[in-house]
C-alpha cells in the first residue's frame, strides 16, 4: 500500500516538475500559433461574409499538398514556397468566392453554407483521386534543429512558425484598420446594405475577404509542412480545432483568434501530457463546450 502511495506521489511530482511542464507549455504556445493562423482565415470570412466556410479544411489540405509538391517537384523550401503560394491562394480564394460561391448562393446565406460544404467534398475527393490516401512527409535538414533556451529545447521550425504567425496577424490587423479595403471590409461586415449605398463594391470585398482567408491557409500550410504530414483529410483535424479557437476568441476578432489559438495549443499540449496522446484532443473539445455554455460570444467577440 505504502509503496504504491509513494509511487503515485513520485509520479505526480514528476508530472508537475518544471522540466516537463515548462517545455510542454512552450510547445503548446508554438503549436497554437499555427492553429491561430488557420482560425484567422476562418474568423475573417465569418466576420465579413457571415458564413461558416466548410471548405476551409479541404482548402487547407490543398494548401499542404501545394507546399508539398512545391518542395518535391520544384525543390522549393516551404518557407520560400510561402512567398509564391500566398498570392496563388489569394487568387484562388478570390476566384472561388467571386465566380463559384457568390453566384451559386443567389444572395442567400443558407445557400453559401451548402455551397462551401459541396466545395469541401469536391476538393477533398479530387485530392483523394489525384494523390490517393497515402500520408506523405518531407524531410528537411533543419526540421529537428533546436534552440536551447535553458529551460527547454525549442524546435526551430515551430519558433519560425510562431514568429511568422504573429507577423501575419499584425499585417492583417493593419490591413483591416488602416487601408481603404480594410475599412470597406469592416463596413460590409457591419452593415452590408449601407456599405453598398455608399458605393462599396460588396461582391469585390467579399471575394477579397475570402481570398485573404485562403491566403492565411497557404502561409499556415507552409509553416506546418516541415514538422507535419500531408494527406487528403489532414485539414479536417485543424478545422475542428480552428472552430474552437474562433468560438473561444470571438467570431470575427483577429486578436481573439491569435490568443485563442495559443490558449488552445497549450490546453492540447497539457491534456496530451496528462491524459496521454490518444486522448490529447479531449481537452480542446471540453473547452469548446464550456465556452459555448458560459460565454457564447467568446472572449473578444461582440455581444450577439
Amino acid at each position: 500500500m505504502r509503496g504504491s502511495f509513494y509511487a503515485a506521489l513520485a509520479f505526480c511530482g514528476r508530472m508537475l516538475s518544471p522540466i516537463i511542464l515548462v517545455p510542454a507549455v512552450l510547445n503548446g504556445l508554438l503549436t497554437g500559433a499555427v492553429y491561430a493562423l488557420v482560425a484567422l482565415g476562418l474568423t475573417l470570412i465569418y466576420g465579413v461574409l457571415h458564413i461558416i466556410n466548410f471548405a476551409h479544411g479541404a482548402l487547407f489540405s490543398a494548401a499542404l499538398f501545394a507546399a508539398f509538391f512545391a518542395y518535391r517537384l520544384l525543390g522549393l523550401d516551404p518557407y520560400i514556397a510561402a512567398i509564391l503560394l500566398t498570392p496563388v491562394f489569394f487568387l484562388l480564394g478570390y476566384g472561388l468566392q467571386r465566380f463559384v460561391i457568390g453566384p451559386a448562393a443567389h444572395g442567400e446565406d443558407r445557400n453559401i453554407l451548402l455551397v462551401t460544404l459541396g466545395l469541401a467534398v469536391v476538393i477533398e475527393n479530387t485530392l483523394l483521386y489525384a494523390f490517393r490516401a497515402d500520408t506523405r512527409t518531407v524531410n528537411l535538414d533543419y526540421a529537428f534543429n533546436v534552440i536551447d533556451i535553458g529551460v527547454a529545447f525549442l524546435s526551430v521550425p515551430r519558433v519560425i512558425a510562431f514568429g511568422v504567425a504573429l507577423v501575419v496577424a499584425l499585417v492583417l490587423w493593419l490591413i483591416l484598420t488602416l487601408t481603404d479595403t480594410g475599412k470597406a471590409m469592416r463596413a460590409v461586415a457591419k452593415e452590408k446594405l449601407g456599405a453598398e449605398l455608399v458605393g462599396i463594391d460588396v461582391v469585390h470585398i467579399y471575394a477579397v475577404t475570402f481570398g485573404l482567408g485562403t491566403a492565411c491557409l497557404a502561409i499556415a500550410a507552409c509553416l506546418l509542412l516541415p514538422t507535419y504530414y500531408v494527406n487528403p483529410h489532414v485539414g479536417n483535424a485543424f478545422v475542428l480545432v480552428a472552430f474552437t479557437v474562433v468560438v473561444l476568441g470571438g467570431m470575427g476578432s483577429v486578436t481573439g483568434s491569435l490568443l485563442g489559438g495559443m490558449f488552445v495549443g497549450v490546453v492540447e499540449s497539457l491534456s496530451g501530457l496528462y491524459l496521454g496522446e490518444s486522448l490529447g484532443q479531449i481537452g480542446i473539445f471540453v473547452m469548446f463546450i464550456l465556452v459555448l455554455l458560459f460565454r457564447p460570444s467568446g472572449l473578444f467577440g461582440e455581444r450577439a
Binding site: F11, S17, I19, T31, L273
Partner: protein, 410 residues
C-alpha cells in the same frame, strides 16, 4: 461433405455459383495432364502496395517478383516440364477487404497458390477467403498468432509468430542485461494504440516484472502521430534505463528523432518488431537518431551467400534490403519447392507438399523447416543493433556479426 454443415446456405450457394462459373469458363485448375507440357503456373502475389502500408507492400512485391524471375531464369519448375511461374499481382490497398477482393480475383484467374498479405489483419482475412477455394496461402510476414491457430488447412506461415518473437525478445533482453552486469532496471513503453502495439504493450507489462524489470509507464499514442514532444518530455522526466517503442515506421522514426532532438539518451532503446529499428532506410536517412538502437525482428541469415547476393541485387536496383523483401523471396521459393515435389499445379497436391515440406533453400536463419498446423516450427527472429552505418546481428551468438553495445555510450 462434413464441411457443409458449417457453411451457411448463402455462402454455400455463393461459392458453388462461383466455382460453377469458373469451371464453365475453364479457369479452375484443370488436372495437370490436360495441360500442355510446361504450361505456366499462376502464382498470386498479394501485397498492400497502396495506402498506409504501401512502402512495406511494395518491398514485399519486390522480393516475390525477384524470386519468380530467378526461378524462371533457372528453367522454371522442372517437375512440370520447365513450367514458368506467372505472377498474378494484387493490391490489398492496406485493408482486409481489399485483400479479400484480390483473393477472389486471383481465384478466378486460376492461381495455384498465393504468397503475401504483409499485415496481420490482411493475412487473417485473405487466408480465410482462400480457404473457401482450398487455395494454398503462404503468409509472408503477418505475425498475429491466430493466423495459424484457426485450423485452416490451406494456410502456412514460414516466418515466426508473435508469441515466439516476444519470448525470444524478452529472453535476449535479460541475457544482454545480465552480460553487462545488470545496469538496467527500469523500462518505459511507448506504443501505437492499435492491435499490434497494444497487444505487445500488454504482453510486456505482464512479462517484464517477472524478469526483474520495473515498468515505469506505458504511453499509448495513435497512428499517425506527428508530435512526440510530450512523450519524450515524460521519458526525460522519468529517466528510465530502457525505452521500448512498439510503433510503425513513421512514428518510430519520429520518436527516435525527437529523443535525439531533446537529448534524451536512455541506456538502451530496445524494440520488439520495431517498425524502423532494423530498417536500412532509417539508418541511411537518420544515422545519428538510429545509432545503437536494438531490435528483435525478422532478419536474413548473414552467413548465407544467397542472402548476401540477394542484398546486392536489391541494392543495385536502388532499393533497401528490408525484411519484407527476403521474407517474400523465401515464401515464393517455398511454394516453388512444393510445386516441384508435388509434380502438379493442383491445389490439394500443393497443400500436401507444403505440409510435408523440409525446404532449406531459403535465406533465413531458421532451423529445419517443419510445418505444424501451418506454422514453420523452425522459424526464429534475430536481435540486431544499429552500429555505425550498418545493422549487425548481435544475438543469437551462433551467427552474430558484432558484439552488442549496451549500455549505450553517453
Amino acid at each position: 461433405m462434413t464441411q457443409f454443415s458449417r457453411v451457411s446456405r448463402r455462402r454455400f450457394l455463393q461459392s458453388t455459383a462461383l466455382i460453377a462459373t469458373a469451371a464453365t469458363t475453364g479457369l479452375v485448375n484443370a488436372p495437370a495432364v490436360l495441360r500442355a507440357q510446361g504450361a505456366p503456373v499462376k502464382l498470386g502475389v498479394l501485397h498492400p502496395v497502396s495506402g498506409a502500408l504501401s512502402y512495406s507492400g511494395q518491398q514485399g512485391r519486390l522480393g516475390a517478383t525477384i524470386a519468380i524471375e530467378e526461378i524462371n531464369a533457372a528453367g522454371g519448375i522442372k517437375a512440370l516440364g520447365g513450367a514458368k511461374i506467372d505472377a498474378v499481382l494484387g493490391d490489398a490497398q492496406s485493408t482486409p477487404e481489399g485483400g479479400n477482393a484480390e483473393v477472389e480475383k486471383m481465384n478466378s484467374a486460376g492461381v495455384a497458390a498465393i504468397v503475401g498479405g504483409y499485415a496481420s489483419s490482411i493475412c487473417l482475412a485473405a487466408s480465410q477467403t482462400a480457404a473457401r477455394y482450398d487455395l494454398p496461402y503462404v503468409v509472408d510476414v503477418g505475425v498475429a498468432d491466430n493466423i495459424v491457430t484457426r485450423g485452416l488447412k490451406n494456410t502456412f506461415r514460414f516466418g515466426p509468430g508473435f508469441g515466439v518473437i516476444a519470448k525470444t525478445a524478452l529472453d535476449n533482453l535479460v541475457a544482454l542485461n545480465d552480460q553487462a552486469g545488470k545496469p538496467a532496471k527500469t523500462v518505459m513503453i511507448v506504443h501505437e494504440d492499435s492491435l499490434f502495439g497494444s497487444g505487445l504493450a500488454k504482453l510486456l507489462n505482464a512479462q517484464l516484472p517477472e524478469r526483474g524489470f520495473n515498468v515505469l509507464e506505458t504511453m499509448p499514442h495513435p497512428t499517425p502521430t506527428r508530435d512526440f514532444n510530450n512523450v519524450v518530455l515524460k521519458i526525460k522526466a522519468a529517466n528510465p534505463d530502457i525505452v521500448i517503442p512498439a510503433d510503425y515506421y513513421n512514428e518510430y522514426v519520429l520518436l527516435a528523432r525527437t529523443m535525439q532532438q531533446q537529448r534524451v539518451r536512455p541506456k538502451a532503446i530496445y524494440s520488439v518488431l520495431g517498425g524502423a529499428a532494423s530498417s536500412y532506410k532509417f539508418v541511411k536517412e537518420f544515422p545519428e537518431a538510429a545509432q545503437y538502437i536494438m531490435d528483435c525482428n525478422h532478419w536474413f541469415d548473414p552467413r548465407n551467400p544467397k542472402a548476401l547476393a540477394l542484398r546486392k541485387k536489391v541494392e543495385a536496383q536502388g532499393q533497401f534490403y528490408t525484411y519484407e523483401v527476403y521474407m517474400n523471396y523465401s515464401g515464393v521459393l517455398l511454394v516453388a519447392d512444393a510445386l516441384q515435389r508435388a509434380g502438379s499445379a493442383e491445389r490439394a497436391k500443393i497443400t500436401a507438399a507444403l505440409e510435408s515440406s523440409t525446404f532449406s533453400g531459403h535465406v533465413m536463419p531458421y532451423g529445419p523447416t517443419k510445418f505444424v498446423n501451418g506454422q514453420n516450427t523452425g522459424a526464429a527472429p534475430a536481435n540486431t543493433q544499429v552500429l555505425g552505418n550498418d545493422i549487425q546481428v548481435i544475438l543469437p551468438s551462433t551467427f552474430a556479426t558484432a558484439k552488442p553495445v549496451f549500455p549505450m555510450p553517453a
